[in-house]
């Protein structure tokens, strides 16, 4: 390990940060190599903060917050950005909602104005609510219902959690969105879209000395919100394996295994994440090399960890090769899981994982938009913004013993959901 870190090529992301009196955290990263600037706001609110009967609300709300504000008419938000030569978008997951613009650097103030309008007095008309409800329904159909295997995440989540709000997908359910009323919108906005629940990032061709005044100019007037309610629900351990069959409009069976894992940022999370790389990152990884290539049981196999801020999941997913049953495929995957539980990985294989992490870490900071998001995430979910530079150490610190330990602790049958996806024609 020492050899690797000594030779590790890293790149420090320099930044400064401060809080406004209203609680807004601000991070600045100055880089003049391209005359652009990323302006972004991460709100610490996601689908796990939704009420049980308002599933999908955080994501729906994200759509609504492009509708306008007291000073921005319906549809004008994107027009300002695109007219200035910029791009904009947003996304939501279980834990946070992230909005960003990438603008020519002479338009940084436009970005600040837009984001401050969104935070200060967003405004949504009935036409906007109705239209976006339809748009979200189409998003749901397009991404989940009309895709083969598209229902995997929702089907896994509802079986992997019984208490915690992670049990529903971020896209939510239409009946809940249909039921939402004006009061819901106001409460959600007032509770979560407040400066003390947000981090603002400026990354790119800015003057970090002048930027704080610009930020204050637009954001200082926004009043601080109340204490942010956080879900206290702790999901109890699984009482044993949950196993089920899902019939889908598919021809090739698939196997999904979801293991409950510790929260993002914990020591074991990094070990589990490294284990997932061992299993499926690259052609020489265990699952790809054996299940797909040598045994030819699968046409696709992958495994990844969901980096949730409360205990999440590691999901392995494989699509069967022609003529291979789900049972045969699962047995082939299980041999690989058993192997990581029973046998420590070699030094060479561990070095390979570290080399992969190192490259990923550097490429993740190739663009301003990526740097902005990494800074915001590090501040929101990790032990301080500096983790944008130091998080890699936690990956590099993972030992062969750690890998085997977490494999034995988490990648075991009693801690998982197993789904077999089968063609509808096999339904009895």
């Amino acid at each position: 390990m020492a050899a690797i870190t000594a030779g590790a090529q890293t790149r420090e992301i320099k930044f400064t940060e401060f809080d406004l009196p209203n609680g807004l955290h601000v991070i600045l990263h100055e880089d003049h190599s391209t005359p652009i600037v990323a302006v972004s706001v991460m709100y610490h609110v996601g689908s796990k903060d939704e009420a049980k009967d308002r599933r999908g609300f955080a994501h729906f709300f994200e759509h609504l917050l492009f509708e306008g504000s007291d000073n921005i008419g319906r549809g004008e938000f994107s027009k300002y950005v695109e007219k200035a030569g910029g791009v904009l978008n947003a996304n939501t997951n279980g834990d946070r909602t992230y909005y960003y613009e990438v603008l020519p650097s002479n338009q940084v103030e436009l970005g600040l104005w837009l984001e401050s309008e969104r935070m200060m007095h967003a405004r949504v008309e009935a036409k906007g609510i109705e239209t976006q409800r339809e748009v979200v329904k189409e998003e749901r159909r397009q991404r989940f219902e009309n895709q083969p295997y598209g229902s995997i995440l929702p089907e896994v989540l509802r079986r992997a959690y019984t208490e915690h709000p992670y049990q529903w997908p971020t896209i939510g359910f239409m009946e809940d969105l249909n039921a939402a009323s004006e009061k819901d919108y106001q409460t959600f906005y007032k509770t979560f879209y407040v400066p003390n629940n947000a981090v603002l990032v400026l990354a790119g061709d800015i003057d970090a000395k002048k930027a704080p005044d610009l930020v204050k100019k637009y954001f200082a007037a926004i009043p601080k919100g109340g204490t942010i309610p956080r879900t206290k629900i702790v999901e109890p351990p699984m009482k044993g394996e949950v196993r089920d069959v899902v019939y889908d409009r598919i021809q090739l069976p698939a196997v999904v295994e979801a293991y409950r894992i510790p929260a993002y940022g914990t020591k074991d999370f990094y070990a589990v994440d490294m284990l997932n790389r061992l299993l499926s990152n690259g052609n020489s990884s265990r699952l790809v090399k054996n299940v797909k290539d040598a045994e030819q049981k699968a046409v696709y196999v992958g495994s990844f960890s969901l980096p949730f801020e409360q205990p999440g999941l590691a999901i392995a997913f494989a699509i069967a090769n022609m003529g291979v049953s789900a049972d045969t495929l699962e047995a082939s995957m299980e041999r690989q899981f058993a192997l990581v539980r029973d046998t420590p990985v070699s030094a060479a294989e561990l070095d390979k994982l570290k080399a992969q992490v190192e490259t990923e870490f550097i490429s993740a900071n190739a663009r301003m938009s990526g740097i902005a998001e990494n800074l915001a995430s590090a501040y929101t979910f990790l032990d301080g913004t500096k983790q944008v530079d130091t998080e890699i150490e936690q990956y590099l610190a993972v030992t062969a013993a750690d890998l085997q330990r977490v494999a034995k602790q988490y990648f075991v049958p009693q801690n998982r959901v197993v789904l077999h996806y089968l063609p509808q024609s096999q339904k009895k």
């Binding site: 030779g7 020519p104 338009q107 103030e109 436009l110 189409e138 007032k190």
Partner: protein
């Protein structure tokens, strides 16, 4: 007072007036002075063997990438479509020094990337690992071995992929969309199928690699944390002495190169033109939650066309990525039909293309196609607004600047300049040229490059739910059905067992519903069905009396919607629109209905029935009987092979809007007086209607007035 219902979230917040006084929040802040966009530099030189090297030095990140690219023209794959994909798929599967496994271990061990393609490869790594990766890059490009065992594996995986394509509507739309754009006689329109893949041999794949991977048409592109001197040394060390494989070539009658194992190299002939009148093509994917829609046509647009930039501006305004594009604003933000609607207008050296599309819910499929076609036509007819033009130009200028964040962009520009024969300053003058694009030139581009009347409109979705409504949008007034391979759809069928004929199927049906004796005992018949249609309950009652009297009445509540009476000779139809005597085909049609069991009377009616195979209907094997009526109309009936019962009837119905397919399914058979009748009849003619029997009465006596034609 009528005001838009607005939801003001601000009312809940206390906004300190004093603090905001300094900022005028009511309007967007002014932009600062425009920053200078600096186009990075590239260096380029040619090796002795003809290979061109492009270098872009950028030390921001400690990473280096290498791309090798061969300038290969599109070549027809004919009956062996798929072999060119395997050229790329297998490029990194073995060299004269390493097995696939060793290559994989090395790449992953370096934390590197190595992706093969059928015209070269891309590799990247941290600077410290780059020299080792470069050894491998050279080895793969010059001495790939295409091991037979790996070939078999990759082919099987690809066959599985072709099979799985049927499950993915986006993939189907992509593949069929290309076939419809270019036609299957042009390389871009060829479709890989199980049949074509099964003809592919390893020798052919290897021969293609050897024939085309040649230094004289090769480029090596090095980008990143590497100096020009280092790049030169790298290029020289590896590639300068490479001669390429020696491949003997003969000529065929058409002067094509002929290569052993590969056959004649048939390059793309004349580019396809958008000349066909607009058609609606449909690929059925039963049970789809959405329809995937595309309007496509080929375009005569090369990258060095003087109007190429205008074409790009045009597409940005129409649907090219900006949120304020017309397709997005119309279909998403105004109508809420879709999550996103986009268009592309791509320049290409061999054949350009246009595509516009979106995924929409079933119910609005026809409306979405209408809007899509409207927008393509409208932008030709009316000039774009100055505002739209300004937004598109700013957006494109901004994208140009943003793209320069990645040093590979400069290399891509340089490579494009060589490959597409662009002026040397093509990219250096990009922003200046963009600035001069005018409203008028965008309209000229629209008129030159868009062909809405010659578009192929492709819909992948649930035929029963949406197909019929699309016929009016086709200039041929009908929907043409395709399979997922882009070929005209032919219902899969098996030959019927020996000895079976249409007559034996019809006889078996009569036996199944109770037998000829029981059926002939039916002297009169009253069938009452109800259905719910757009919130109202509709009752349909049919009356038959032997030998051939018929009446039908459709009512909603006390209101008669439609009434038909036939006394055995004359027929009369009445409804909301008045009353008229039935003549010609209408009279012929009612004669069929006049028999309580027309299947017994096809000969009397002068109908010709033909057994046309065994097909699958709703998961059941069924005999398909094709019937040509005396009036010349054609319909298909489907009889369950297991039970003998009629389960479906499909007929085409012409109307002014176009030709519709009416599918009628019969189920839930129950006996009345020893004869089975379907208690559920589901009819689909674009809209689903399910009729449930509320009364079926046999031989209860019907008043003579029931059949009186007045």
């Amino acid at each position: 007072m009528d005001t838009p219902q607005a939801l003001s979230l601000a009312t809940l917040l206390l906004i300190p007036a004093l603090m905001t006084a300094q900022v005028d929040r009511t309007k967007a802040p002014a932009a600062g002075p425009a920053p200078e966009v600096r186009l990075g530099e590239h260096k380029s030189f040619t090796l002795a063997n003809g290979m061109r090297v492009i270098v872009v030095e950028n030390h921001k990140l400690p990473m280096v990438s290498a791309q090798v690219r061969f300038d290969i023209p599109p070549v027809l794959q004919g009956d062996k479509v798929g072999y060119q994909d395997l050229v790329g798929e297998l490029l990194t599967s073995g060299t004269n020094r390493r097995t696939k496994q060793q290559i994989d271990e090395l790449v992953d061990g370096l934390g590197a990337q190595l992706n093969g393609g059928n015209d070269g490869l891309f590799a990247s790594a941290l600077k410290k690992n780059f020299p080792q990766l470069m050894d491998l890059v050279f080895e793969v490009v010059t001495s790939a071995t295409y091991p037979p065992a790996e070939f078999e594996k990759a082919k099987t995986a690809m066959l599985t992929g072709v099979q799985a394509r049927a499950d993915d509507p986006d993939q189907i739309a992509d593949v069929v969309g290309r076939a419809l754009t270019y036609g299957k006689g042009f390389p871009y329109g060829e479709v890989v199928t199980e049949a074509t893949l099964n003809k592919v041999t390893r020798a052919q794949v290897y021969a293609y690699y050897q024939y085309f991977f040649q230094p004289k048409i090769g480029y090596l592109v090095l980008v990143g944390d590497i100096t020009e001197a280092e790049a030169r040394a790298t290029a020289e060390k590896y590639f300068a002495k490479w001669t390429g494989a020696h491949v003997p070539v003969t000529k065929d009658a058409a002067d094509n190169d002929v290569v052993k194992d590969l056959g004649p190299i048939i390059k793309a002939s004349a580019a396809p033109q958008a000349t066909r009148p607009r058609q609606v093509a449909f690929v059925d994917r039963p049970g789809s939650a959405q329809s995937v829609i595309k309007a496509v046509f080929p375009v005569d647009l090369k990258p060095n066309d003087p109007m190429a930039l205008q074409a790009q501006v045009l597409n940005t305004i129409l649907g090219g990525g900006v949120f304020n594009a017309r397709l997005m604003q119309n279909l998403r933000e105004d109508k809420g039909y879709t999550y996103g609607a986009y268009s592309s207008l791509d320049a290409d050296r061999w054949c350009g293309s246009f595509s516009a599309g979106c995924s929409v819910r079933n119910a609005v499929t026809d409306s979405a196609v209408t809007e899509l076609l409207f927008e393509i036509g409208h932008i030709q007819e009316m000039p774009v607004t100055a505002d739209e033009l300004a937004l598109a130009k700013s957006y494109m200028a901004g994208s140009f600047a943003r793209s320069l964040e990645d040093p590979r962009t400069i290399a891509r520009f340089a490579l494009n300049t060589y490959l597409n024969d662009l002026p040397k300053d093509h990219y250096a003058t990009y922003l200046k040229r963009l600035d001069t694009v005018s409203v008028a030139s965008v309209q000229t581009a629209a008129q030159r490059f868009l062909h809405p009347d010659n578009a192929m409109v492709l819909v992948v979705g649930d035929k029963e739910q949406v197909a019929n409504k699309l016929a009016p949008l086709s200039f041929t007034k009908s929907v043409v059905y395709y399979d997922m391979n882009g070929d005209l759809y032919r219902e899969a069928f098996e030959m019927p067992p020996a000895g079976m004929t249409a007559q034996t199927v019809l006889d078996a049906y009569i036996t199944a519903i109770g037998g000829k004796a029981a059926v002939e005992k039916v002297k009169d018949l009253r069938k009452e069905y109800t259905a719910s249609m757009q919130g109202m309950t509709v009752t349909m009652t049919e009356y038959n009396a032997a030998p051939n009297k018929y009446a039908m009445e459709m009512r909603s509540g006390a209101m008669t919607l439609q009434k038909v009476v036939f006394d055995g000779t004359r027929g009369m139809a009445s409804g909301m629109g008045g009353k008229k005597e039935l003549v010609d085909t209408e009279l012929q049609d009612v004669k069929e209905d006049a028999y309580a069991f027309p299947e017994l009377h096809y000969a009397d009616l002068d109908f010709a029935a033909l057994l046309n195979g065994v097909v699958e209907v709703n998961g059941k094997k069924a005999y398909r009987v094709q019937v040509r009526s005396s009036g010349g109309g054609l319909f298909n009936e489907y009889y369950d092979q297991a039970t003998g019962l009629k389960i479906r009837r499909v007929e085409a119905q012409a109307s002014e809007e176009g030709t519709f397919q009416v599918i009628t399914d019969f189920s839930d058979y129950k006996p009345v007086n020893g004869v089975l009748f379907p208690y559920t009849i589901r009819q689909n003619a674009g809209m689903d209607l399910t009729f449930s029997a509320t009364a079926i009465e046999v031989n209860k006596g019907l008043p003579a007035s029931t059949f009186t034609v007045e």
